[in-house]
Symmetry: C3
């Protein structure tokens, strides 16, 4: 089944442990079709490994898995056989920044490709800009970049949700 | 007057100085009955003392006071004679973690008891997960735990509000 | 055209790089009249200079500019010839605290003057209280003060918006 540019794109944002991934998985489950999990994480430490294993156990066996820390466009195209869950944009941004890649160009490219996809995609991202201004210049650059990434994808997406304490709040389209 | 499991439970979350406590006190006032303030704070420093004194002065004389840093279930049962305001879950979590208690079991127990209470309860908590990932591992553990506590109580509560600049935004039940 | 106390006041809050300023500029553009940008920033470093230049280029030539780091009341009166955009309250608070001025009195005065203004005003501010409690006492004082400033202006304003990933969410007046 092909929609040629009519597949829905959703951005899900929120704080750490706010229930974003679970809400994303439930949104994908409602869409039907064989889902693919596009993991942008680069397992580097034990904390991350534990979290990734917990997510994997929760999703279940029907999910395909693509691990892609940098080439999100390639991953979106390669897995174009059902709804995709990209988890998450902030780790992808971290990877791009560490690789000294042009993250602005990369996020613009992802935003540009959204209307052309044949299958729905759900992006998970993080809000990192609602605390005190970080003392560290790199942290300030990262939070500015993350805000720009979130705005860019939100602008291109059909729906945007803020998840608070596990409760999804639709912010796009907004209330009339 | 006893409702036997029909008493309303509300979770109020938000950032520091966002007006959570004032909104919680007003919500309690609308419920009628002799209210009890369940303080989970352990006065440890001057900053906290000043804040507690300001809250106390604002509430007024009709409020009962229970100070309970750890045994929240016990405090909820002991004060079961009118609406209760628990302020706040994040300090309770801090106390449990410092005491090396099983905070997951404790929060599951509180969530489980909500549908059985005879009188309404309003929980105040904090959003702590919307800033940059803390450099400190203990801070990361705490913010993950706080997110889990908030999700667990929000899931069990009848209503959830996010307070922003003093303005309550209902996130559960959500808009249709 | 004078409204004598009927001019609308709006508070726009959100995280870093959430799209607050752009939404504020668009809100002003809808109001008509010659707009004035009241900049509270004190250009101190290169990061800030770059950001201010980008905002200026985006706004366009029809905007007047008032740079006023401390006397916001004076700036609001002096520029009373069209809609005003105050960007932002948190930098103004920073300046007041650095000058050891009475910021509580100053924000109460601004809140008090809102109903008397002849032309609309849009305030941009920042949410800084949704991360982990800062280790630094000055940062804690600042985030408490910022929360108080936001509550005070939100209480006096006609409308309050939280901007998330570029999407405005109306929090005042709230949903019925």
């Amino acid at each position: 089944m092909c929609h040629f540019g009519m597949a829905k794109s959703i951005l899900i944002t929120g704080g750490a442990r706010s229930g974003k991934s679970l809400f994303a998985e439930r949104s994908i489950a409602k869409m039907g079709g064989a889902p693919t999990y596009i993991a942008t994480a680069r397992p580097q430490d034990d904390e991350m490994d534990v979290r990734i294993a917990a997510h994997k156990a929760r999703r279940g066996a029907e999910w395909g898995l693509v691990e892609e820390p940098l080439d999100l466009i390639g991953a979106l195209r390669a897995s174009d056989t059902g709804p995709r869950l990209v988890d998450c944009l902030t780790l992808w941004l971290t990877n791009l920044m560490l690789a000294e890649a042009d993250w602005r160009a990369a996020v613009d490219e992802v935003a540009g490709v959204l209307p052309t996809l044949d299958h729905p995609v759900v992006f998970v991202t993080n809000e990192v800009g609602l605390g005190i201004v970080p003392a560290n210049a790199l942290a300030r650059r990262f939070r500015d970049a993350a805000g720009t990434v979130n705005q860019t994808i939100a602008d291109a997406a059909d729906e945007v949700f803020l998840v608070v304490a596990g409760q999804p709040l639709k912010v796009k389209p907004g209330a009339a």
